[in-house]
Symmetry: C2
Subunit: 340 residues, 2 copies
Amino acid sequence: MNLLILDGCDETQGASAAERLGPGWTVTPGRHSDPPDVLASRLAVADAAVTQYWTADLPPAPRLRLLQLPGAGFDAVDLDAVPAGCAVCNVYEHEIGISEYIVAALLEREIRIARMDSGLRRGEWRDGFALGAPLHGELHGKTVGFVGYGRIARATARRLAPFGVRMAARTRSPDRSGPGAELVGDLAGIDRLDDMLPAVDYLVITCPLTETTRGLIDARRLARLGAAAVVVNVSRGPIVDEEALYAACRDGTIGGAVIDTWYRYPDPSGGRGQRCLPSRFPFETLANVVMTPHASGWSARLLERRWTVIVENLLRLERGEPLCNLLRPPAGANPAAGAP
Amino acid sequence: MNLLILDGCDETQGASAAERLGPGWTVTPGRHSDPPDVLASRLAVADAAVTQYWTADLPPAPRLRLLQLPGAGFDAVDLDAVPAGCAVCNVYEHEIGISEYIVAALLEREIRIARMDSGLRRGEWRDGFALGAPLHGELHGKTVGFVGYGRIARATARRLAPFGVRMAARTRSPDRSGPGAELVGDLAGIDRLDDMLPAVDYLVITCPLTETTRGLIDARRLARLGAAAVVVNVSRGPIVDEEALYAACRDGTIGGAVIDTWYRYPDPSGGRGQRCLPSRFPFETLANVVMTPHASGWSARLLERRWTVIVENLLRLERGEPLCNLLRPPAGANPAAGAP
């Protein structure tokens, strides 16, 4: 079996995968930017490929039976361009890192440890009880609303539950008997998104980017949020309208935003030293915004966990067993045959 | 009934308390720094006093039946100097704020959102996946060890449980069937403190300051911690040896510290503008230390919750009912008569 690993995959993980796959597999690393004939010859023999990107201009991959994404998002895959007989699978495992990031961001928004730290380093006690300073916030009693209620939102809800927060969620397929539904007091379909907005202190975006979710949180919906509400986006930037979010933060019509997923990204082949502001609007000038570089899920054991699933899926392909995390079955296959 | 409220109590809360206590009570505010004759005349008629401080040089308080502390710590009360017929009670209610602070500090130590934010504001993507940056930490899988397992530690353990951390605790009276014991894999007496230290990633100090806990975490015990371990002190500074903690952080023999409770405090009567570095050692020069001004529990609804308990206790005193949070019963009383 030939496995082609294209771009963005850590070499150590690739080597370790080759070792775990065993002698039945030949593992070839490559890049989308390789010379066309090199890329073409590799795709011509590949039985499986690991890559986050698949476009219509790729050379033919006639033997391809598994396109395995190394991450969760499939917005960079043109499903119509993937060979019909090829299954498409993704991996998650980022819900640990992302849910930790969300809880951290909410708590820091309330407590502001960083602000206290910089003050006390100058000998200032403005935030402590000793000089009768103002009290800081509490997460306890706040309301968190999730847009999307998949793995990330559920992992976050499980972690938030003991903090005494109220939780609501809007999702494509609300299921009161589904996993994690018991954590959420108010679970409803995405058609009832608008009625969740006025009550939330934190609006947490965790749905995938699709043509229906692009621009879902627009100026009209941002205007339904309270003046202290904070938008937290750990999913994909364009789910929230870029200009409307910037204006709402700048004008203080909402409390602010915690933004991990953006509108503009650096060139992957441009080297680590390059600078790239993540929006055409100057979010970096706003004090009520926390900005992180699409790193919420980029945590210590993520790749180890993901490659464990990827290797398992490749071995299942080899043995003809049902695949994990099937996004799209191969043409003619029974979609119900996917493993959970 | 005469209630004397001395120092450090918010006037709004005092006024609201007077209203809730009703016409049977006369509420008088005062200060320890009042002229001696003023203080003496007020203490001479007080049936109850709310204050965090009680020293042997105070004028007599012959009618005093309840010394109600407005906080949890009783290290500023000389119990031998409190009139024998007077009960001493404290209040908690800070476990919500302090446990939120601890979880926030642990998560931020792993993820370092503040560092990412300052980078991305300059267009740097050094922490994200886009340019293959290093992965940040995860709280998942870490080990947290509590010194003391009272209300704060239990509230923290409840919040940490869904993060997949291992927990251990050492306490004066370990009780495997006590509240919250099920959250802690390794619960033992304080005599087994030393054997907990090598395994912890976070050592969280939550015990009260007493003559047995003063200096409990000394140079020898700090040396038993791993090189990445972080000491988190939300209790009282002097439980951790000041010089030894500074040296361990400075020399990197431990990973660092999150310090909310200190060795030096500003003068309560000196005004908010004063500056006071919180130790005779320059912790403010160390990058592996997070410094906050005894503010972890100083959170939004703390005073409201505490004054609800204080008013309830004063009404119980008036009605001759058992008191809440009894630290020391009046002489001759049955200690078991205290309410839970």
